[in-house]
């Protein structure tokens, strides 16, 4: 992995100006990675350690609170947010291997504390230190290439929150271009939703199915061997549909490929 000077100075850090020489990162694992695909968490740890970070994983974390937030349950969301903010105070950065959870932490926590100025201030300081994994590597740490090999053709889906809340689009592609052996074949409409939408996919399964069906069609058209994205929710949705359709396309989180950790079975794939 090589680093160049970061293009943009980090938004905030506790040392006042400039990235700390060995940044201390708190990994926000995300509930889906914790429960379903720990390998993504370990890939994230590896990528950040290789880039010179000290990575810790606060035990007092569960979920970012989106299921409650998007169901209109503000009180529970606020309680969860407060405990996340508390758990991650004292880190230079808070990094999540998910655009959706990072978006929640970065873009929505502050508005939860409109009526609580002290907490709002803490939320603001917290949000400024939150990043999604891949954009953290490229935009904050200045990572411009990775030391990984992957033999095959990949296609990349832009998950909605990462794309539209955090502007993540070029960063993963830039790093994927440096993976040995990997060829990227873009799908049509890579910026169109996969139909996951958290609880949406189980509340409106018929509509969700229609949307993910369009998505798997565009994926198949690329002829790729592997589908990559930066959000496990979307990946599980698309993997579940591809499997149901009987397609052989593998599905992985982009961090697994960037970290060169693709020895585990793919998402929804059995033991080889």
């Amino acid at each position: 992995m090589t680093s160049s000077a970061p293009q943009d100075p980090p938004l905030a850090d506790n040392q006042g100006g400039g990235a700390p020489s060995r940044p201390k990162v708190g990994l926000f694992v995300t509930c889906l990675v914790d429960l379903f695909r720990p390998s993504v968490g370990f890939a994230a740890v590896k990528l950040m350690e290789d880039a010179g970070c000290t990575v810790e994983v606060p035990a007092a974390q569960t979920c970012c609170g989106q299921p409650a937030f998007n169901s209109g349950d503000r009180d529970d969301t606020r309680a969860i947010a407060a405990s996340v903010i508390r758990a991650f105070e004292g880190y230079d950065y808070v990094v999540a291997p998910s655009g959706s959870c990072a978006g929640m932490l970065k873009k929505h926590y502050v508005e939860l504390f409109e009526d609580d100025p002290a907490m709002k201030q803490r939320a603001e300081a917290f949000s400024a230190r939150v990043f999604e994994l891949v954009s953290f590597l490229t935009d904050v740490l200045g990572v411009s290439s990775v030391d990984a090999r992957f033999e095959g053709t990949a296609t990349y889906h832009d998950s909605c929150s990462g794309l539209r809340e955090l502007g993540i689009q070029s960063q993963p592609r830039k790093l994927l271009a440096t993976v040995d052996g990997l060829k990227l074949s873009e799908m049509r409409d890579s910026d169109v939703c996969c139909g996951f939408g958290g609880t949406f996919c189980v509340k409106y399964p018929d509509i969700s199915n229609k949307i993910v069906g369009e998505k798997t069609r565009t994926i198949a058209e690329t002829g790729a061997d592997v589908l990559l994205a930066g959000d496990l929710g979307c990946l599980m949705n698309m993997a579940g549909k591809l499997k149901r359709e009987g397609t052989a396309i593998e599905v992985r989180h982009v961090a697994e490929v960037l970290a060169g950790m693709t020895d585990k079975p793919a998402i929804g794939g059995g033991r080889r």
């Binding site: 694992v29 990675v33 914790d34 429960l35 379903f36 695909r37 720990p38 968490g41 370990f42 994983v57 035990a59 007092a60 569960t62 299921p67 409650a68 937030f69 998007n70 169901s71 209109g72 349950d73 503000r74 529970d76 309680a79 969860i80 405990s83 909605c160 929150s161 539209r164 809340e165 169109v192 939703c193 139909g195 996951f196 939408g197 609880t199 949406f200 996919c201 509340k203 409106y204 399964p205 018929d206 509509i207 199915n209 229609k210 949307i211 993910v212 369009e214 599980m236 949705n237 993997a239 579940g240 549909k241 499997k243 149901r244 585990k264 793919a266 929804g268 794939g269 059995g270 033991r271």
Partner: protein
């Protein structure tokens, strides 16, 4: 019109099984999106214009009462009449009253979503006044006895063959040998029929895209020119518009117009942008002798100052639905009332109550594409979430969802307990799913496994593995 929003799920199911509809929706998905993308990319200041447009409307909404008064004064000074309608019923009554005064039998109509909102056509017909839609799309769905499925392309759900069949059914003068296969021949046939109606009509009714406070002018944008004929040929012109259509000045209108057509159809400007101020003056060669404006509130003033105020910036360009994956999947009729797509998901609950339209703000993946293209920068997902909050606090959320959420939140707020419970559950699931790597059915997860497999967890949770790694280190 019959409201079917409570049956959104069933409506959606029907729409998904409707093959011709699905083909028609494919055109929305491609055409509109590409055209908007091109038009916005060709204008370097497009995003600045969006900011500007937002600011203009925000300013108006902060002083709406003053601007409405100023507007009404100008209309009357120009010789027009202003009618204030608090409810849809008031608006219908006022319009019927004007029809009666004029002994009107036929009214021509320019395309207007507000008259859809107040259910004007059915009401007029019940009172022996024949409304004739003059916008081609509106004309087609009037023939079919339907309602618009899109706010700028009302007949987007209908295909060419269906239109031909409708024309042959209603235009009985048609020679069976006449070729109606091309959209252009359909258009000229409609033109020929409508041309006569313009002259027969006693009153022309139009909506308004904008009402200009400084001049008392109403503005419509169209592509067919039907609006001009509708408002100029009959003796009386009635404008029906909702109160938030106000903009302060002519200059403000020209700024917002620069984002309207680009966002809607990808045109730089619509073909016709028509300004009308009062009735015909002595120096005017033509125009209506009588000019009325019906200003409709219908619940909008209660949105002012609420978390839904931003919705009143909407200029009805349709970009949000053109870019919405849910709209692409089910089309406009599934939403069950006048306003479909993301803007409908916010506006409909405001106008008819969230108890009747609760599905609409819930049936969104929050992908955010609507907000990313809205020329007025309306935070549509955020406002849909506000509706979900209202539902949740009023206990309107379905019991099963509430219960599940409550149980989940209980654990999510207690990390130690959560980790102990999930460690066990994932170990079991991981073992069960290990060989295949996925489940094709799962109790309590039917919504997921009906259409897709559920990837199995790897087994040990990340937290459990991390704790081990730490103790080992």
């Amino acid at each position: 019109m019959q409201i079917t929003s409570p049956g959104f799920k069933e409506n959606a199911r029907t729409a998904l099984d409707d093959a011709p509809l699905q083909r028609a929706l494919g055109n929305v998905r491609k055409g509109f999106i590409e055209k908007r993308a091109k038009a916005s990319a060709a204008l370097p200041e497009f995003d600045l214009l969006r900011d500007n447009a937002r600011d203009i409307k925000d300013h108006v909404l902060a002083h709406l009462d003053l601007y409405l008064e100023a507007y009404a004064e100008k209309v009357e000074a120009a010789g027009g009449h202003v009618h204030w309608a608090e409810t849809a019923e008031d608006a219908r009554r006022i319009i019927l009253e004007i029809c009666r005064q004029k002994n009107a039998r036929t009214v021509t109509k320019g395309k207007s979503m507000i008259t859809e909102e107040i259910g004007l056509n059915d009401f007029l017909e019940e009172h022996a006044v024949a409304p004739v839609e003059t916008d081609l799309g509106e004309y087609i769905i009037q023939l079919r006895g339907e309602h618009p499925s899109h706010i700028i392309a009302p007949a987007v759900h209908v295909n060419k063959d269906q239109v031909e069949a409708d024309f042959r059914r209603v235009h009985t003068h048609l020679d069976p040998a006449r070729n109606l296969e091309e959209p252009t021949t359909l258009l000229s046939e409609a033109r020929a029929v409508l041309r006569e109606k313009y002259f027969e009509a006693d009153i022309g009714i139009t909506g308004a895209n904008f009402l200009i406070a400084e001049t008392g002018t109403s503005v419509i944008v169209t592509n067919e020119g039907n609006g001009d004929l509708t408002q100029n040929l009959p003796k009386t012109h009635v404008v029906v518009a909702s109160i938030e259509k106000i903009v302060p000045t002519l200059d403000d209108v020209s700024q917002i117009l620069r984002v309207l057509a680009r966002s809607a159809t990808g045109q730089d400007m619509s073909v016709y942008t028509t300004f009308s101020t009062g009735p015909k003056r002595d120096i005017d060669p033509d125009g209506p002798e009588d000019y009325h404006v019906v200003l409709l509130d219908n619940g909008r003033s209660s949105m002012l100052g609420s978390e839904f105020q931003d919705m009143l910036r909407c200029i009805r360009c349709g970009a949000c639905m053109n870019h919405c994956p849910v709209y692409h999947a089910v089309g406009g009729h599934a939403y069950g009332w006048v306003y479909p797509g993301p803007m409908g998901a916010v506006l409909t609950p405001s106008l008819m109550g969230v108890d009747k339209s609760g599905h609409l703000p819930n049936a969104s993946t929050f992908c955010g594409r609507c907000e990313s293209v809205c020329p007025m920068r309306i935070p549509l997902p955020k406002m849909m979430r506000h509706w979900r909050e209202r539902e949740f606090s009023r206990n309107l959320t379905p019991a099963t969802a509430r219960y599940g959420l409550g149980a989940w939140a209980f654990f999510a707020k207690r990390p130690a307990l959560y980790q102990a419970a999930t460690r066990l559950a994932m170990a079991v699931l991981g073992r069960l799913g290990r060989s295949k790597g996925r489940f094709s059915a799962m109790p309590l997860a039917g919504g997921w496994t009906k259409y897709r497999d559920l990837p199995a967890p790897e087994g040990e949770t990340f937290q459990a593995q991390w704790a081990k790694r730490r103790t080992a280190a």
